[in-house]
């Protein structure tokens, strides 16, 4: 049983890694995403965490770069806003694209520490990244309304994979 959860955490870590890359890429390529980040004070961290053992992903915008932390570093930051999944299984529902963020919220899968009004910006950013990362038919199922793409998914993917 315990190992099963360990395996799930490994998967979550991998998806969070991709998501981190996706966020970085979106920050570079998508004007709207960069605009959304302006709502957060400089050098403050937003963190997504999975209770009780992690993994976590923390990110912070400064100038033209988005700084992304995973692993232990992500756990050490003091976040401005934290979205925490109640457990690994609820988190995987979202990370493996079974449900969208709106649905996860309806299902009480996560808690939010911090200003709820600012959280909506994070949700819009996540929706945008999901819309780039997932194939059309999945994105359509996950998102109540699909946002517009500013670059093609192909270009987005190349950047995610190469991380330049």
């Amino acid at each position: 049983m315990k190992d099963n959860k360990k395996f799930k955490r490994a998967i979550a870590r991998f998806v969070l890694f991709l998501l981190g890359r996706g966020l970085k890429t979106a920050y570079k390529l998508d004007n709207e995403v960069r605009e959304e980040f302006k709502a957060f004070p400089d050098n403050t961290f937003i963190r997504m965490n999975i209770a009780p053992y992690g993994p976590a992903l923390a990110f912070s915008a400064s100038g033209d770069r988005l700084c992304v932390y995973g692993g232990k570093k992500a756990k050490e930051v003091k976040p401005f806003i934290e979205i925490e999944f109640k457990n690994i299984d609820g988190a995987l529902q979202v990370l493996l694209a079974r449900i969208g963020i709106a649905e996860a919220y309806c299902q009480h899968r996560m808690l939010v520490y911090g200003d709820l009004y600012k959280t909506l910006g994070i949700i819009r950013i996540m929706n945008k990244v999901e819309n780039y990362l997932f194939p059309g038919f999945i994105a359509k199922k996950l998102l109540v309304k699909r946002p517009e793409k500013e670059v093609s998914s192909l270009r987005f993917y190349l950047k995610v994979l190469t991380n330049i």
């Binding site: 709106a102 919220y105 309806c106 299902q107 808690l111 911090g114 709820l116 909506l120 109540v144 309304k145």
Partner: protein, 393 residues
């Protein structure tokens, strides 16, 4: 339709009807409390509502700590100040007597005490409060609208930012809600209509938004049935006791419904309009409802058809073919709003209330950051919201 997963909680004890107020001492004594802080507003003290409650309590509790300096729309400052009064007077429980403004202020105070915090800003978030120190909490609503006596939400404004903040936590649920006609029969027709429309928006949005579930539906439907039958009666005849207690129940039921299924776009825009222009919450609800229903029509036509039955009865429902019921429902609600406009001056356009044209853009910008927008069945962007606002203006 059963959602793949849902949660539901309502732990509030309901005391409704004859001599309900007289049971408050018993309820508080169950928690070993004897010295409540009584919270209300200046208006309710002036017209004697607070006194009715204090007399009903009699000498069974120490009712010497009364705080009525609560402005419309709760704010951080007032909440923090009341906590100090509570501590200085060694109070051990809270009785809130008022509409949503008083109740939400009281919820803020309860939150500070239970979490042993000094500034409400430290407690911002959703579902993060742990079970804290007990502060027994009885709510006596004097409007029939917000349903705040049974919700896990408190809307409290942060005057520094000019925004209304939402706090979401089961820790905010009161221990008891006391519904008594003596509390609402003084409500003037316009506020009766306005707050009644708030209750309707709670039930209708709970019934049509993404978080709906079979249990919240049951509450929402009961609420809509009562509102359909009694809201206009309560507006026409303020002393109609049956209509008053029915509306108090409707408001509470709608509160339970949306506490577990969340409200949608009407509220997202309404909260923003309250924060920017200080339009009374119920007025914003009434004005926006038909416009948002039209916006949501592509996804909600069938559900709005159901609402036609609950609000306007089987004859009206059966008179229209199935595919026309959703639209007819909006039309019927519009007609009702026009009757309220003629009878008691409930505004039907934003411009007739406190909203100015230059407010529309800031309202739209705030609305898309309101949590309620997440569960709206049709996704709405800032541009969509602005369109709706222009139509409602």
């Amino acid at each position: 339709m059963i959602p793949k997963y849902y949660e539901f909680l309502n732990s509030v004890k309901i005391l409704s009807g004859d001599k309900a107020l007289e049971n408050i001492p018993y309820e508080l004594k169950q928690f070993n409390a004897s010295k409540p802080i009584i919270l209300s507003d200046a208006m309710l003290q002036k017209i004697g509502t607070v006194d009715i409650v204090i007399k009903a309590i009699g000498d069974q509790l120490d009712t010497s700590t009364v705080f009525v300096d609560i402005p419309p729309d709760s704010s951080y400052k007032v909440v923090n100040a009341i906590r100090e009064v509570y501590t200085q007077n060694n109070c051990d429980s809270i009785i809130a007597i008022g509409g949503g403004s008083v109740i939400d202020t009281a919820k803020g105070v309860r939150m500070l005490i239970s979490q042993q915090a000094e500034d409400i800003k430290q407690l911002e978030g959703s579902e993060i409060l742990k079970k804290g120190i007990k502060a027994p909490f009885v709510v006596v609503p004097t409007t029939s609208g917000t349903g705040s006596e049974a919700t896990l939400v408190a809307v409290i404004s942060n005057p520094d930012e000019g925004t209304k903040k939402e706090f979401v936590s089961y820790e905010l649920l009161p221990d008891a809600a006391v519904l008594d006609v003596r509390m609402t029969e003084t409500l003037p027709p316009k506020i009766t209509a306005s707050t009644g429309m708030d209750a309707l928006c709670h039930a209708l949005e709970a019934y049509t938004c993404l978080q709906k579930n079979p249990v919240s539906d049951a509450y929402a439907i009961s609420a809509m049935r009562l509102i359909g039958e009694y809201l206009e009666k309560a507006v026409d005849k303020p002393k109609d006791k049956k209509a008053r207690i029915a509306m108090a129940n409707a408001s509470l039921l709608a509160g339970i419904a949306f506490s577990n299924s969340m409200v949608g776009l009407v509220h997202a825009i309404g909260h923003a309009a309250g924060g920017v222009s200080h339009i009374p919450h119920g007025n914003a609800m009434a004005i926006l409802l038909p416009h948002v229903m039209e916006f949501n029509m592509p996804k909600c036509e069938k559900l709005y058809g159901d609402v036609l039955l609950y609000l306007f009865g089987p004859e009206v429902y059966a008179s229209a073919p199935a595919q026309e019921r959703g639209r007819l429902c909006v039309e019927k609600i519009r007609q009702m709003l026009h009757r309220f406009n003629e009878k008691c001056g409930l505004p039907t356009r934003l411009r007739d209330d406190k909203v100015k044209e230059i407010d529309l853009l800031p309202i739209a910008e705030k609305a898309i950051n309101d949590g309620a927008i997440v569960v709206n069945p049709v996704g709405a962007t800032k541009e969509d919201v602005l369109e709706i606002l222009k139509k409602a203006y």
